[in-house]
């Protein structure tokens, strides 16, 4: 315990010191890490690692001492705070002061302290969690005790050896030196870092690979050189220098990152490389983003207007005071008191002083509590969005996350949605559908039928779930998984892909009988040949293609095999018949490696040989620990193997291959074990993996084929790239035919909306391989520019491929996507899909999700050849787009009616987009795109995606929302006004960059249409109300200036004046701002048209501010003059007269809120009752507390007396009613004569349920019903005022050949200037 507190005390001071120290060894490009135990005795100074940050983390912003200055400093960055402090300080100037200076400080101190307390609480939470984390335990090797001892995380230093056990969390970034795993692997789960739940393999540093016995830290004497700490999770470069002088490269595969969890590995030992704040996890940890919403921008303009009004009022009063003084001349009246010094002020001077005084008196006009209130309301709104059950996904047990706290109302004002396709519109759960091998198509009809069945089951299941209440699906359906759940209970999250039963079964594929026969046939032949030791090359090429195809599917990936019932251990197999393969393997290896000369290359290859001693396999694949024996018996069959893949299509392919008995049973860093029919388990020696990247769009593995003993490259990738890399077809007619037919099938697949992948292989001669290997190894060990070198090296390898076949994978649409898109579109949102997929797939998905309508004309823009954006193409574009100029120029009022939408769909591909985004063409592109109902950009790069969003956002001045799930959407998400991430299958990068994270696309509908609408209308109304309230209150005092010689006197007691906004009238508006619902959620979803309300900012238009101001001035006139005349020429004193006015103002303000409140829950009633009660309680207490204080008002017993007077009640009765009469009357008339769509929606809410349903179903058919008189998608005749486009035929297709650079021509089949550019791409 003592240790704890001591640590806490030290905590505050340590980090700055650490930071200072860190700077000393600067300008080194690399970091050198020595083992700490060598320097254990030499305390501190000589330890070469002493400059590096220790593992203690501190995410708090403040310390006890620095809190006040630092927090105040931060708060004063907000201009409003400075303004209020300025005014409060002005009060300390005697000539100017209006209030008691101490009292005047109260509101600003209150506001500042509320914010400060909020910050303090947040910081305290961080401090507590820091402390908790800092005091977690881990095993660190101690030289003194010669064993691993438990230490706190914060005591871990760079250079320490730590031992990690299964399911432990890594305390720092650790270089893996040893693992209990026989393959020297360590599995980690990175869910806390990037949200990906699939296990990732990490391997022991190569030089420590061959340690047979347990790693002994005492023997370690190497030095590690690596790069400086950075936040790139996917990069780690460095090398380890051994005593012998040998260097070994280090990769990210060797590094275990802080925050990850060790899985499936009993024990691992590593050396700490980065600790504490220098770990990658911490460097990646940056707080929520701060965006300013559109509404807030608009509000700031009006705050500015308030300032102007304030200054005008002050100026008016100052001039008035000067004139008032002037009229008395030298005869100073007895009530015009001299200044305290007894001097006589000139009218001009006193006018100047008065100006300042008035600023203080009228300060309330700038709503001091507005900013705080808005923040509070937004936090509540976020809370409610967070709590919405409809936005909760059972399957993944996740709900909507609001990562940006202050742009909730922007959700209600969106105009453009930019969506990714894969994973956003679709499930990104890939299902293998069809394939073509060697030019023969296998349609997998049975599989398709089965899938259709599941789909039905799924929907039924969902239905029964929705009726069946709240029982979680996982519990009810997958009872057989319960054992697994129990076993995995130590894992932080249950696995994401353990959703429904139907899904699990979808992974099973019913094989196509024809293909299955061929596979069987082929493998039995191979078995036969192997038995007779015939060379495999004699196999007929179509058969060998088939088997190669499946081998490629099985091994050309990064799938990790795990067994669900043994969560703590990766799958192990007991096979004995495999040994001889490996032995042959090894003997052949020798010959190859002798070709190589470089020592490091040798080590790569040769270590294979020594690593596996004879009989090593049995030892390595140790039997399952006995404790699990009971369970293993029922599911040791291979059907229970589970594949964990980084991308879902990899898993789909592996599952597909398994259906053909070609199953992946194990993956080690250097070999892949595949089980083939007849042939049994084969071990492919994995020489290299060239991972997938988005530029190459392919991945390759280099293996040694165990049967043919050839070095084979298997490549899998997007058809567009693979097709270009196929060996020139002059080699054989057959290959040419295969390529041709495969291409044909690929087009068919794409037309079905399937994702296509091409599979190819290449056989390398040993010489070729050696030659390539040498360069590759050089590239691998380079520290500078390694990525580029590796990229080059990969390009060299992946050429002249032999096409094996292609696969079609279905990416099912997410549930409810077409409906969501339809209703979002009805809500007036323009939806653009930006995808990296190929055009045909994208178009078909677009049709499937109703983004494109078959009745629409399709405008396809394809540039055939890549060329620089300048030059003739630009010119042709100019001419092509010229007709669209008419659209843009013919609608100069583009801001009011931005959507002159025709029945057009625009499809543009990446290459063309490159031109279209050129400066000179972007306007034209936009003009075209705007006149289309939907836009589809295919094959676009992440950069292009973000450029498109930026273009639309900046040029059209619209609110944009980008939604996506993958890393390629990050840039677009960041550019858009609101970025939404789908927390789907592809990791969390998009979520991390987003403002809101949704589990599914369809939730977007409720998020925008309901929550967005509510948030917007609540906040807009609240802001307007705030302006009104303050203006109304301040105007009371302004009118009074006419009756007090413009002397800055206030009839309202200074306490009321100062606390009116903060206390008496604060709560009801917060409640209304948080809970008010103008229309019910059901109606909002059923009538998406109501969303237009927010898009056009109809709740808060600039004129509304002025209307509110005028209303405020009118109401204050009423509240002032009714008491004025009622008390005229009576013996009433200043504050006895002012108190009723305050009361009346409070009643009026509350009643005003009442007329604006649409739903009255008990909380609204309570808050209003509370406000009134609070006012009277405070007033009564205050007026009874001190008979000689509170100068000058001295309100002793005022309220008490007032309450005895009937006149007071009579005033309270008439004034609010007279004040609100016009507004109330206007609202009533408007509700009847020209109701807004929202009001009609509200009326609809009131109707009985069955009638309402009737109306809604009718109105759904007729979009242009009177309910939505000004909606964007009206009948076309209306939409195109000059009749540019008459819909008179089905397909008006204008073919334009842009193939040649110069020639561009219009072949108008129809005389209208309307056009569609359809370029025949090479696919047609």
């Amino acid at each position: 315990m003592a240790r704890h507190s001591e640590e806490d005390a030290g905590m505050a001071k340590a980090p700055p010191a650490a930071r200072q120290r860190k700077k000393k060894p600067k300008e080194n490009k690399t970091r050198t890490v020595h083992a700490n135990i060598l320097h254990d005795c030499a305390k501190g100074d000589e330890n070469p690692n002493r400059h590096y940050a220790n593992n203690k983390i501190k995410t708090t912003k403040y310390t006890v001492l620095s809190f006040l200055p630092k927090n105040l400093f931060e708060q004063f960055h907000r201009f409003a705070n400075v303004y209020f402090v300025f005014i409060a300080l002005l009060n300390f100037v005697p000539v100017v002061n209006a209030f008691q200076p101490e009292l005047a400080l109260a509101p600003v101190v209150f506001i500042l302290s509320v914010t400060a307390i909020k910050d303090l609480w947040e910081d305290y939470r961080r401090h507590r969690s820091d402390k908790e984390i800092n005091h977690m335990d881990c095993l660190v090797y101690s030289r003194a005790e010669r064993r691993y001892v438990e230490k706190y995380w914060k005591e871990v230093r760079v250079g320490d050896f730590i031992r990690l056990r299964c399911n432990e969390i890594l305390p720092a970034d650790v270089l893996l030196l040893s693992s209990s795993d026989p393959d020297r692997l360590c599995h980690i789960e990175t869910a806390t870092l990037d949200g990906e739940t699939n296990l990732k393999q990490r391997q022991v540093v190569r030089s420590f690979y061959d340690l047979d016995c347990e790693f002994d830290p005492l023997k370690y004497n190497s030095i590690i050189e690596c790069e400086k700490p950075n936040n790139d999770l996917n990069r780690f470069r460095g090398y380890i220098i051994h005593r012998s002088g040998r260097r070994d490269a280090l990769y990210k595969e060797n590094l275990l990152l802080r925050g990850c969890t060790i899985r499936n590995t009993e024990e691992a030992v590593g050396i700490v490389i980065y600790a504490g704040h220098e770990t990658k996890a911490m460097l990646n940890n940056n707080g929520p983003r701060y965006k300013r919403s559109k509404l807030e921008r608009q509000m700031n303009v009006d705050v500015f207007w308030c300032v102007i009004i304030l200054l005008v009022m002050c100026l008016f009063a100052a001039v008035g005071h000067g004139l008032w003084m002037f009229q008395y001349g030298d005869n100073r009246p007895v009530f015009d008191v001299l200044s305290p010094e007894g001097t006589n002020l000139s009218p001009i001077m006193s006018a100047i002083y008065l100006f300042l005084t008035m600023i203080i008196v009228f300060q309330v006009l700038i709503p001091i509590s507005l900013f705080v209130s808005i923040e509070i309301v937004k936090i509540c709104q976020v809370y409610f969005i967070h709590q919405d059950m409809d936005l909760y996904d059972e399957e993944t047990d996740s709900h909507l996350q609001c990562r940006a706290l202050n742009i909730t109302e922007d959700l209600g004002q969106m105009q453009y949605i930019f969506s990714d396709k894969t994973g956003t519109l679709t499930e990104n759960k890939m299902v293998f559908r069809r394939c073509t091998v060697a030019g023969v198509e296998y349609s997998h009809d049975a599989n398709a039928r089965r899938l259709a069945m599941y789909q039905e089951m799924d929907s039924e299941e969902e239905e029964s779930m929705s009726h069946g209440g709240t029982l979680p699906r996982r519990d009810s359906v997958t009872s057989h998984q319960s054992a697994r759940v129990v076993l995995r209970s130590q894992s932080t999250k249950s696995h994401r892909r353990t959703g429904s039963r139907a899904e699990a079964k979808r992974a099973n594929i019913t094989p196509d009988p024809k293909l299955l026969d061929k596979v069987n046939d082929c493998s039995s032949q191979m078995d036969f040949m192997r038995f007779h030791s015939q060379p495999m090359s004699q196999l007929p090429s179509d058969l060998s293609d088939i088997i190669d195809f499946f081998i490629a599917l099985t091994i050309c990936n990064t799938v990790v095999v795990s067994s669900p019932n043994q969560p703590r251990h990766k799958v192990t197999l007991t096979c004995s018949g495999q040994k001889h393969h490996l032995i042959t393997n090894r003997s052949s290896n020798k010959g190859c490696s002798s070709l190589l000369s470089s020592p490091s290359a040798e080590s790569t290859l040769t270590k294979l040989h020594e690593e596996q001693p004879s009989g090593g396999l049995e030892q390595a694949f140790s039997p399952i620990p006995p404790s699990y024996d009971g369970k293993t018996s029922w599911n040791l069959d291979e059907g229970e193997l589970r594949y964990e893949a980084e991308s879902p299509d990899e898993a789909a392919l592996v599952y597909a291959a398994r259906a053909y008995k070609c199953s992946l049973v194990g993956r080690l860093p250097d070999q892949v074990i595949v089980e083939l029919p007849h042939l049994g388990k084969l071990s492919f020696e994995l020489l290299h993996t060239l991972g997938f990247d988005s530029t190459r769009k392919r991945m390759s593995v280099v293996v040694r084929h165990p049967l043919t003993d050839q070095i084979t490259v298997y490549t899998k990738g997007a058809d567009s790239v693979i097709m270009d890399l196929i060996k020139p077809p002059d080699t054989g007619k057959r290959q040419k035919k295969i390529v041709c037919r495969t291409q044909h099938y690929l087009n068919l697949y794409a037309a079905d909306g399937l994702r296509t992948l091409c599979i190819a292989k290449k056989i390398l001669s040993k010489e070729e391989y050696a030659c390539w290997l040498q360069r590759h190894l050089a590239a691998e060990t380079a520290i500078q520019g390694r990525e580029e070198l590796l990229f080059e090296s990969a390009l060299q390898l992946e050429t002249n491929l032999h096409l094996l076949g292609a696969t079609g994978i279905e990416d099912r649409l997410q549930d409810g996507v077409p409906e969501t898109i339809a209703s979002l579109r009805k809500a007036g949102l323009q939806i653009w899909v930006l995808t990296g997929d190929k055009q045909e797939t994208a178009v078909n998905i677009a049709y499937a999700c109703k983004l494109l309508d078959p009745e629409e004309e399709l405008l396809t823009l394809n540039a055939k050849f890549l060329c620089s954006p300048s030059g003739p193409t630009t010119k042709s574009f100019n001419t092509n787009f010229s007709p669209f100029d008419i659209y843009s120029s013919s609608s100069p009022s583009s801001q009011s009616t931005p959507f002159l939408v025709h029945r057009l769909g625009l499809v543009i591909d990446g290459r063309t987009l490159a031109y279209a985004l050129d400066k000179s063409l972007e306007d034209k592109f936009l003009a075209v795109a705007r006149s289309c109902r939907s836009v589809l950009c295919c094959r676009s790069t992440p950069l292009q995606k973000s450029m498109v969003v930026k273009l639309v956002r900046n040029k059209l001045k619209v609110m944009t929302l980008a939604i996506g799930d993958g890393a390629n959407d990050v840039s677009m998400i960041q550019v858009a006004d609101v970025g939404v991430g789908i927390s789907g299958q592809e990791g969390m990068q998009a979520v991390m960059a987003s403002d809101f994270a949704l589990p599914r696309f369809r939730y977007l509908q409720k998020l925008l249409l309901v929550h967005g609408h509510w948030c917007y209308s609540r906040l807009a109304n609240m802001i307007l109300y705030f302006f009104y309230k303050n203006a109304m209150f301040v105007a009371l005092i302004f009118w009074y200036q006419f009756y007090c010689g413009f002397s800055g006197s206030a009839m309202i007691d200074q306490w009321y004046l100062i606390f009116f906004n903060l206390m008496f009238s604060a709560f009801p508006q917060l409640i209304t701002g948080t809970l008010d619902k103008d229309v019910s959620a059901e109606t909002l979803q059923q009538l998406p048209q109501l969303y237009v309300n927010g898009q056009n900012s109809e709740e808060y238009k600039p004129y509304m501010f002025w209307m509110n101001m005028i209303d405020a001035f009118y109401q204050s006139l009423v509240c002032f003059f009714i008491p004025y005349f009622a008390y005229a020429d009576s013996d009433v004193d200043l504050f006895t007269w002012g108190t009723p006015i305050t009361t009346l103002a409070l009643f009026t303000i509350l009643l005003h809120l009442g007329t604006e409140t649409k739903t009255w829950t008990w909380m609204n009633w309570m808050s209003i009752a509370f406000s009134i009660a609070l006012f009277f309680t405070v007033a009564l207490c205050y007026n009874a507390s001190c008979p000689a204080c509170y100068s000058p008002s001295n309100p002793y017993w005022t309220m008490q007396r007032l309450l005895q007077e009937p006149l007071f009640y009579l005033l309270c009765f008439i004034t609010p009613i007279a004040a609100l009469l016009p507004r109330f009357f206007y609202r009533a008339c408007q509700g009847t004569l020209f109701p807004s769509p929202v009001q009609l929606g509200r009326q609809l809410d009131k109707l009985p349920a069955d009638i309402r349903r009737n109306i809604l179903s009718l109105s759904r058919v007729k979009v242009g019903s009177p309910l939505c008189p000004k909606l964007p998608f009206l009948s076309l005749a209306k939409a195109s005022p000059k009749g540019y486009y008459k819909k008179d035929g089905r397909s008006q297709v204008v073919v334009l050949a842009l193939c040649t650079f110069s020639s561009s021509c219009w072949i108008g089949k129809h005389r209208g200037p309307f056009l569609a550019v359809l370029l025949h791409s090479k696919f047609f």
Binding site: I133, T192, G287, P288, F335, L338, S339, P340, Y383, F384, H386, Q387, D388, M389, D397, H399, L405, T492, C1044, G1045, S1047, S1049, M1051, L1075, K1077, A1081, A1126, Y1127, D1129, S1130, D1131, T1136, T1155, T1159, W1160, T1161, A1188, C1189, S1191, P1192, N1194, Y1196, W1197, P1206, L1210, L1211, A1218, R1227, A1228, C1229, G1231, T1232, L1233, R1242, Q1243, L1244, I1251, K1262, P1266, L1267
Partner: protein
Amino acid sequence: MMASSYSAKDEDGHITVSGPGGGTLRNKKPENTAFKQQRLPAWQPILTAGTVLPAFFIIGLIFIPIGIGLYVTSNNIKEFEIDYTGDDTSSPCYNCAKNFSWNNTKSCTCTIPFQLDQPYESNVFMYYGLSNFYQNHRRYVKSRDDSQLNGNIDSLKVGASSPMASRKKKKPSKECEPYASIDNKPIAPCGAIANSMFNDTLKLFYNDPNGTSVPIPLTSTGIAWWTDKHVKFRNPVGTNSNLTAVFQGTVKPVNWHRPVYELDTDPENNGFINEDFIVWMRTAALPTFRKLYRIIQKKNNMAPTLPRGNYTLVVDYNYPVRSFEGRKRMILSTISWMGGKNPFLGIAYITVGSVCFFLGVVLLVIHHKYGNRNNSANISN
């Protein structure tokens, strides 16, 4: 446990609010409560002509009778007012007013005859009224020391003279400046309000039909708020109960003719608790105001308090108002439950009630003409 806490941290990072769902192991499903799902039972009024129509009529029907009642009540109040400023040459006070200033020490008396047409039955309140007198001026309102008026002896002490007092606050509040002290002697009572206290003396005489002039007894107590007289304003309690001794060492305000302890002979109405003084210290809200001066108590039930007939008002003219074009008045008024004579509120109620009623009719027309169209249109589409 560790795992959960770590992920909780990572997940919400520095986000303030993430609800209770900060990465718990348990099911994160939100609770299905009416509050969290925003389904609290609510009353949802819709403002249309049809729905608000009754409200308008009801308000109209309530307000008009109230207004009539108030108007009648106000009209039953009898009020009589004499302006005795003396601006006019014909006015009896013209001579007094002509060259009168604060510095005059000799008072000037003027006599104003007047006639009451109606007998005043109940208690009559006698007011003096001032116009154009900005008692609500910001600096004027502040210029007082409540602590001194509350009998705090320290506020009457002289500045730095005694070493004992130097530790405490001992002077009149600085708010009183420049009327806080003269020659280092504190002014009692200090401040501009006290300094400018109304000091005319008004006397009423009833001119009997038989020619004699009968003075009317004027009660000078009970004119201030009870709380003012008994709580807020206290005479300083010194070692002896003699007011003169207590106020020893203070000076009277410059414009006063007598020191504060000589305001009245009645010890219960002298010093700071003099009711005329208290009434004056309650600063008026508006530049035209009246202040209660005396009460004419009804003596017996038989005779009216002030019978019909001729009266004489005798004024000791001390208070100069001409420099700021002020007016001085004397007002006699009876009082009702709602205060003095003021027909405004009655008229206001009648007006607002009528307007409501009229708007109600307008809404009725609107409702009849357009209200149904909307609903049917709504349902038909």
